[in-house]
Amino acid sequence: MHPVLITIIKRLGLGLVTLFVVSAIIFSSVTMLPGDFGEAVLGQAATEETVAAFREELGLDKPAWQRYFSWAGSVLKGDLGTSFSGRSASGVDRSRSVAEMIAPRLKNTLFLAGVTAIIAVPLAILLGLSAALYRNTLYDRTVNVTTLTTISMPEFFVAYVLILLLSSLYKVFPSLATVDPDMLLGERLNRIALPAITLTLVIVAHMMRMTRAAIINLLASPYIEMARLKGASRSEIILKHALPNAWAPIATVVAFNLAYLVVGVVVVEVVFVYPGIGQLMVDSVSSRDIPVVQACALIFAGTYILLNLIADVIGIATNPRLLHPR
């Protein structure tokens, strides 16, 4: 088999193993819960029977590995368990299925992240490339200080400044990003404008700096000096000599920042009260709704692992040493 394929398959296997271990860690968090947990969820007035029934539902009487496999089995089937909220001391159970709670919110989050990525990725790569090309010029230094400042700011600061300027003082965009499924695309985009701009600003700064560093690192290679001494122009050097070797570092940069986007989305959703999975997770952490927290964590971690996997596969598939073995 071709060495590229072998390497990619190995990498995919490693990704699966990681996902397995991560899911086990997320699952095992339940076992670390304190003993009086049933009372905490059901309230002080819960009877012994309701608590016992609840414990049985969680399967706390079975060994951990058995519970893990039954949990993992249901997760694979799309069943993420039942929420802790909506239960009461009297034993009346109005709890909802976690999958049902997450599905619409996951769509919203993916929409917001997707819109941001579509704007941010090309913008950041272009800015990064140009800063690398015109490095140590006034342009580069300005961009450097600006982006360094931006990445140092907490997301919520950027968000509130935007709200202050574009919503409170000048009513350009709504400050609350409430959306519902029946909304038209245009209206939807208008509603998420501020969160999307916030995320874009933060991501672009990060991604641009990393792209610049990756390209400059590449431009220091002896073969780039050789290309110059062979008479290649600036654009030829970038497009013909640097870029074919730059896919791997650029893919890594993009994946890293999209993964960062996943995290940034949590805070931004809370600021703009956007009905996404990040806000759901924060609410569930406050109310200690463990099944929902677990499901959200699993989704975030899975996305993260997948993104890094894709970046590595791109890096492998564009590596001339692997593509053209001896």
Binding site: M226, R228, K230, G231, A232, E236, N245, R321, H324, R326
Partner: protein, 534 residues
């Protein structure tokens, strides 16, 4: 000399500065250089002489962190320093070409060799692309590259270093430039490979009547290539002369000192008292076997030189002796008793008896420790010296290596290359060892400094009856220091014997190839060698 029609390149009063330690420092301090069409000039000097910088300056190019401050570089009637980058690019690759030191790093890993070879010719549209491709194949052919028709479709990592260096010569010649700058093109190669590459390059420039500037630190190499030689030191010209004149009667003392190491020769002495012996050593890393049953004997107070090319296993042998790499078979005997195979099983006393000096003195000393700490540590560790006693012994050691107490509080970064190596020698001496393993200790140093170090080692040997196991690939160094020679090839000992016996013909086949490939200070050496080999 005034500019006449046959002058191709004229550099006048060139000054170049480099930025380091937060300041601009002069690198080239007003050098003149005149090159006629078809002429080959050798540019030689030690590290830091500015020869690479001057070579690139001939293209009107200054590396990152360097700048021209004065002077002119006139190529074929145009001052390159007054041209814009876009105008210089029209000349680069087509009329002036560059051959870099490390071919492996200078080829783009993402493109096929032939595409890189014809890149400049294509850009300038010297001829239709199909013709350039055919021409490249012809060039590969005449450079004796194997499978010339197809080697161009390979990628850089798929061919060897020597082959890459030849492909780079083809790349330089492809657009038929008027001038090629060769920047130490054979330095990274083994001697036996170097000969082939040298011959190929010389052939090429002669055939196409290309002018060239050949930069190297090796006078013997430049003697084979150049019509005239210019010697540089500290960014200034020492002297320039026609090659034969320069070799036979150099005017400046500095030029004479450049090959002084070659005149150093220790009379051989036979020794029967074997202090260290390797017996039937097999060793390797993981599944890779490097040493296949080698025997080496080191007589007391004598020097055994271990010669061989990279990959011959000579450094691995040193690792086995020190205990860093326990052998899979065989044992190392010291004073007739077997040494424990692994480092951790050896006693402090056993460790003290065998010391090591490294090739790169830079990395052999902790950059954050002062000379006093570096030399003082073995004194504390092996001899439990402290306070006054230690200070006195350090002073004594410094005196032995011809340095004084002003060096005590210096950091390695505040020493020159030769001084660093001397401190490493003092550190080894501090243990009072019986055996010192010297791993290419002079090969990173300039000629004149090499001589000083070798003389020092010889003197110390006489004074303290130390035995040296001297690993090197340089035959001149072998002549200068050894009593016996061990020739290694592919993890085996080809032969061991007294120096003169090994150096006198007849030789086994490999020794013959190795010895005959070492360039000699004779302009006709390469021509004669090639004639004798065919």
């Amino acid at each position: 000399m005034s500019a006449s029609d046959d002058v191709l390149l004229e550099m006048r009063d060139v000054h170049i500065e480099g930025f380091s330690d937060e300041q601009w420092h002069p690198i080239i301090k007003g050098v003149d250089l005149v090159l006629k069409r078809g002429q080959i000039m050798g540019l030689i000097g030690e590290s830091g002489a500015g020869k690479s910088t001057l070579g690139l300056a001939a293209m009107g190019f200054a590396r990152a962190g360097c700048r021209f401050t004065q002077g002119s570089v006139t190529f074929d009637g145009t001052n390159l320093l007054s041209l814009k980058d876009s105008q210089k690019r029209k000349l680069w690759g087509t009329r002036i070409a560059y051959v870099a030191q490390s071919a492996a790093a200078a080829f783009n890993p993402a493109h096929r060799l032939i595409d890189q070879t014809i890149e400049s010719a294509n850009r300038a549209q010297v001829r239709p692309e199909s013709e350039s491709r055919q021409d490249a194949v012809d060039l590969f052919q005449s450079l004796n590259l194997p499978d010339a028709g197809n080697i161009g479709s390979r990628y850089p990592h798929q061919v060897s270093g020597g082959q890459l260096q030849r492909v780079m010569t083809a790349m330089a010649i492809s657009a038929r430039p008027d001038l090629i700058i060769f920047d130490e093109p054979t330095t990274a190669l083994d001697v036996t490979t170097q000969v082939e590459v040298l011959a190929a390059m010389r052939d090429m420039v002669e055939k196409h009547n290309t002018a060239a500037i050949y930069i190297t630190h090796d006078l013997a190499v430049v003697a084979q290539m150049a019509d005239v030689i210019k010697v540089l030191r500290y960014g200034e010209e020492v002297e320039e002369a026609e090659t034969r004149t320069m070799l036979n009667s150099p005017k400046q003392a500095y030029t004479r000192s450049l090959w002084s190491v070659r005149s150093l020769e220790k009379p051989q002495e036979k020794g029967d008292d074997i202090v260290l012996s390797m017996q039937g050593i097999h060793a390797g890393y993981g599944k890779v076997r490097v040493l296949h049953g080698i025997d080496i004997n080191l007589p007391r107070g004598k020097t055994v030189a271990v010669v061989g090319e990279s990959g011959s296993g000579k450094s691995t042998a040193a690792r086995v002796i020190t205990g860093l790499l326990p052998p899979s078979e065989g044992a190392v005997h010291f004073n007739g008793h077997p040494l424990p195979a692994a480092l951790k099983d050896r006693s402090t006393e056993q460790l003290r008896q065998i010391q090591m000096i490294y090739q790169m003195a830079d990395t052999a000393m902790n950059p954050r420790q002062t000379v006093e700490e570096i030399i003082g540590r073995p004194l504390e560790f092996y001899h439990q010296l402290t306070g006054r006693e230690k200070e006195a012994r350090i002073a004594q050691l410094l005196e032995m290596i011809e340095l004084d107490e002003t060096f005590l509080d210096r950091l390695p970064s505040e020493l020159s290359g030769g001084q660093k190596q001397r401190i490493c020698i003092a550190r080894a001496l501090a243990a009072n060892p019986d055996v010192i393993i010297c791993d290419e200790v002079t090969s990173a140093l300039d000629q004149i400094v090499q001589e000083g170090i070798l003389k020092l080692l010889l003197r110390l040997q006489k004074e303290f009856n130390i035995s040296y196991l001297f690993i090197t690939h340089d035959i001149a160094t072998v002549k200068a220091i050894s009593d016996e020679i061990v020739v290694m090839y592919n993890g085996k000992v080809v032969e061991q014997g007294l120096k003169n016996d090994i150096l006198q013909p007849p030789h086994p086949e490999y020794t013959e190839l190795l010895l005959s490939s070492v360039p000699e200070m004779d302009p006709d050496w390469l021509t004669q060698l090639l004639a004798s080999r065919t």
